[in-house]
Amino acid sequence: MTLIECRGLTREYRKGDNIIRPLDDLDLDVPRGDFLALMGPSGSGKTTLLNLIAGIDSPTRGSLVIDGTNLANLSRNKLAAWRSENVGYVFQLYNLVPVLTAYENVELPLLLHPLDRRQRHERVRTALERVGISDRSDHFPRQLSGGQEQRVAIARAIVTDPAILVADEPTGDLDKPSAHAVMSLLKELNEELGKTIIMVTHDPKTTDWATRTLHLDKGRLAETGASLTHEQEALA
């Protein structure tokens, strides 16, 4: 069952007379419940693809249909509303609001939903428990470690219960143990909550957690050689 369907997806930037094409005529299907890892050299278009799927960027050409909605046709405000319903974004640098506590950071996306304070409280508590950081709910981001910040950020991404989580190098700034904790958390969300996850990563190790890995190169999907190697490695 396809959740995300990209057809001829193209993103271009015009720089004077030059046209830069970070995403070039890409076809991709992501089934519901997939945990997809995107790899590829720097500048290959991974973030560009992720941002299109997250609805914070619009394609120059092609169609991007998610759960029956073609994002290419949505107005700016419709797209914003769509995001708040359907996607949770996990950033490499967490992007927590420094003046808000962990609790308030997680509550932030819920303010876009018609919930009262009690309902929001229920959801925030559940999300914080889910990421195992309930005891830090009154802490400000500067009082948390990187791994804890990222877990708060993940709680913020899942608190609205979106079908899709996108994560752009979510462990890129973390030490090994923290990275491990974050990856196992994402795996849990994928398996237990059925979240469809699309994750950009530089670290081949993290692809072990994914159900499949795709490689991008110059805005196109490369043949899945690398992931084969990886599977072979795992078999060996």
Binding site: I56, N95, V99, L111
Partner: protein, 392 residues
Amino acid sequence: MRVRQLPFNYAFRNLGRSGVRLAASLVGSSLVVLLILASGGFVRGMQLTLTQDAGMQDNVMILGAGSEEGVERSQIDASVDGIAAASIPGLKERAGVIYASPEIHAALPVRESAESDEDLSSVMRGVREVALLVHPEVEIVEGHLPRAGRDELMLGELAATRLGLPEDRVAIGQTLYFDDRDWTIVGRFSAPNTVMNAEIWLPLTDLQIATNREASLSCVIVTLDRATFADADLFAKSRLDLELTAIRESDYYASIAAFYGPIRIMIIVTAVLIASGGVLGGLNTMYAAFAARVREVGMLQALGFTRLAIVMNLTEESVFAAACGALIGATLGLVLLDGVAVRFSMGAFALAIDAPVLLAGILGGLVVGFIGAIPPAVRCLRLPITEALKSH
């Protein structure tokens, strides 16, 4: 579609991000408010002084024909007060005294003492006791009315400012020097928001002698009761031999006020210019503050908050800081500026920071916060979300 807003709490806490910026915002908007209060208080004080109260609408000045522009230049016969009192029917009257005050208005240089060689400018008014009836605003707050032939003076509250002397230099018992002798201050009076408040009053005959005009007056001021202005006007016009003209006291001062109109406009323009400087300063601090938050604003948009919601929140933050600054400025203004005496060519008056001026000041401060926030907020949001998320 209803705009889902960011909580005010978020804007409020963002103020604490940089102490320096918060201080700059507070100082900036409080200075703008102070400035508006100072210039507004000046304009308002001058206006109040030259615009007579409703009670004064009943007073009519009888002057020499052709002297409507300046009572100091007017010269009429010394008998006009008696003639006017007898000829204009329906003047106010109490216990047999008709409200017709013969007066001399003179701008005489005064010195501190015989040894001093510095001329201090003053406005003197020679009066009889009836002046206190015709000018009910005048209240003797200390001492008594000067008595004729004893070289005595009575000074208004702002007379010291007008003379450029310290307050204690015009206390009761002190002396001032003019017409080759010392005069003793025996009384102090208060006549708030009138030109009289900055005057020196003395007995009519004494001032007549000092100005060598024993047989003349500057004007007679009468208070109407049943009579109308037309009655006083008719009297002035019918006595061709006396060469008189009648003018309402309120109209007389209104024409002086009109003369100072351009100065008021200049002051207001200057205030607006300096306040614009405040706006530029506000813009500057806000550009810096919001520029540091581009990535965060990108994140908020990625969550689904609209640009409008974010602009509103950023504006709330700036306006709230400005409001706090405005309160500080308004408090300082009320404490430091209200009632402060200013010297001016036509006399002296007190800065008047009343409700309209206060309101204008506080609104000005808020506007600084508002205008200072919009362009930086808009600039902060102009970047596409994907770009904003990449910034550091």
